[in-house]
């Protein structure tokens, strides 16, 4: 079986997910034996138009980016969304909470007429083109990325948990953030990160998106037992899980 050719592209984001690929360190050399990286602007000057797997990082914030993404999709037999920005729009979507007219007024009020600032509402990659696989997280988990790459090279479905972060969190015997007086979004968030945040004494912010059948109503009814306000919950949800303020989707 020839090595699949992989091209890595980026859109609006912090490039932290690409950095996680670099951070595979020695395993990056292993990865390069399994796949043939033919384009990766951040790390190399080589470029190519022919590839089997497109890995796309970043959210889509401009019409011209939508066009570029569609061109990539046309050439890509398989497309992988890398990280929260690509998977869900990530916290870039916080911008969508501000009415576009307000954004424009604030921006053009001082330095009007700069066309690059005329950004569209932020979209996830899957809101523009079909996505075959999602590697979630802000940033992605290196082990999960490696695992997905190996699955793709083998031609199998990767197993990505649909259950909440609490599963992994309890397995790691972390102190539960709720008991420490914080709002933790672990019960609503898809696992796979190994409960990275609670393991460091920080509450889960929901960067991997909602778990299957996330019970938002349940969460709202639990708040009072912990003396928390709905306002505070909504502020947390806004960062990653529910940036549009529409209620957590079950996607």
């Amino acid at each position: 079986m020839p090595r699949p050719r992989v091209a890595i592209f980026d859109f609006a984001g912090c490039e932290g997910c690409q950095l996680q690929i670099v951070n595979l360190e020695e395993a990056l050399l292993d990865l390069l034996r399994v796949v043939d990286v033919v384009e990766w602007r951040e790390a190399m000057s080589e470029q190519s138009d022919v590839f089997d797997i497109a890995v796309v990082e970043g959210a889509i914030t401009r019409l011209e980016d939508e066009e570029r993404l569609k061109r990539i999709r046309q050439k890509a037999p398989v497309l992988v969304a890398l990280g929260s920005c690509a998977s869900s729009g990530g916290l870039n979507k916080l911008k969508n909470r501000m009415a576009m007219s307000e954004a424009r007024r604030l921006v053009y009020g001082r330095d009007g007429g700069v066309s690059r600032l005329d950004t569209a509402p932020v979209k996830a990659v899957s809101e523009v083109v079909k996505v075959d696989y999602l590697v979630r997280g802000c940033p992605i988990d290196r082990r999960e990325f490696s695992y997905v790459v190996r699955c793709l090279a083998l031609g199998r479905e990767p197993f990505i948990p649909g259950y909440p972060v609490c599963v992994e969190c309890r397995i790691r015997e972390n102190a539960c953030r709720w008991q420490e007086g914080e709002i933790c979004l672990g019960p609503l968030t898809r696992a796979g990160c190994g409960a990275a945040c609670p393991a460091q004494g920080a509450a889960c912010l929901g960067c991997r998106g909602t778990c299957d059948d996330a019970n938002l109503e349940g969460m709202a009814s639990v708040l009072a037992q912990y003396g928390k306000s709905r306002e505070e919950l909504e502020s947390r949800l806004a960062v990653f899980l529910d940036p549009d303020g529409k209620g957590v989707s079950h996607a």
């Binding site: 020695e26 390069l32 190399m44 954004a103």
Partner: protein
Amino acid sequence: MPRTVHLDIHPVTRVEGHGQLVVRASDGRVERAEWLVPEAPRFFEAMVRARRWDEIQPVVSRVCGICSISHSLAAVKAVEEALGVAISDDARMLRVLTHYSELLQSHVLHVGYLVAPDLMGAPSVVPLAQTNLDLVKKVVGLHRAANEWSDLLAGRTTHPLTLVPGGFTRVPAPRELEGLRRRLAGLVPMATELAEAVLAVAGAVPSFHRDTEYVALRQAGEYAFTRGDIASSDTDESRPAGEFESVANEYVTPQSTAKWTRWHRDSYAVGALARYNLNRAELLPLASKWAGMFGLGGHCDNPYMNSVAQLVECAQILEDSQRILDSLAGRDLKDTRVEVHPAAGEGASAVEAPRGILFHRYAFDEKGVCQSANLCIPTNQNHGNLQKDIESLVPGLLHLGQDEIRLRLEMLVRAYDPCISCSTHFLKVRFI
């Protein structure tokens, strides 16, 4: 030799984010030499508005995946100032250590993965892994060590988890700190080998000088990274972090879509070379030795040497970390988080990110909800200066072949180590 040159390099590869270089010359006359930033703006100041005080750090960490620790530090420091929080000395020292891990990681990444291929005539580190596996392994080893150092202190390498207003959510056990001390001591020989390998090909670093204003933090008695006042190589005057807007006077120029900054001249430079030029007297012995080895000298205005200054800083970081770890050894690190109470207020901070000085400012209402924010990022502060460098460099390159011109220009851009994904804040958003 009259030459016609037509270059449009888009994107410039092996930099963080999308940058574009356009050069047009005919008959030996430069018509256009421009550095453009086509990256989509992300509106972080808008994004943090209405966030609560404890959500600022996680949000602004995502400005940049490479320097997320610097952004996090800048954010928690500014939030602490706004809310009137004082952290313990131990927490402050741990923060310096955490910051160092990122500086080392970023510098090794830049010099080892992004710049070395230029000096060794390769298109990327991938073919270098075939031809110079030993060197690549050293780079990988250093990078891994720096990342694991971040893991230990920040909870992970990118988008730190432990850095919160008030201190740390989790601190390493004494035995973990002792392990780190030993590990870092072992890195010095490895870093030395990397420096020697770079020195061997240092002849490939172009020689180009332009009289430049350099801006960096300065703090008496230390090579400043996390605290101090804003200083310039042009004057002895310095300003507190809270006055950063009067330093980074952002202005729009018809020449570029990116906003430029100016203090005493039309542009200034920040970054490792700026820090070196302002703080070289404070370098510890090993770093001083390396600076001499590379001939950085008393004051250096060759922007290509920024990568060398980064290497010198690697030595500084490793040496100073030993000092800090020695002083933390055997100490009880329990009081590393103080309670924070939301309050109305405003605060600003300045931190040296790997790519240069970084400013944050936030204002909060009495519930601790953010009302306004301003982030001023190093790469933004460099855009104007990079443009000026290009303008001054290109006429002298016209006798070269198109490929060589292209390489020299790309190398210049890379030497600045621009982090364009972070710099996509190029208009200040003020909420009224």
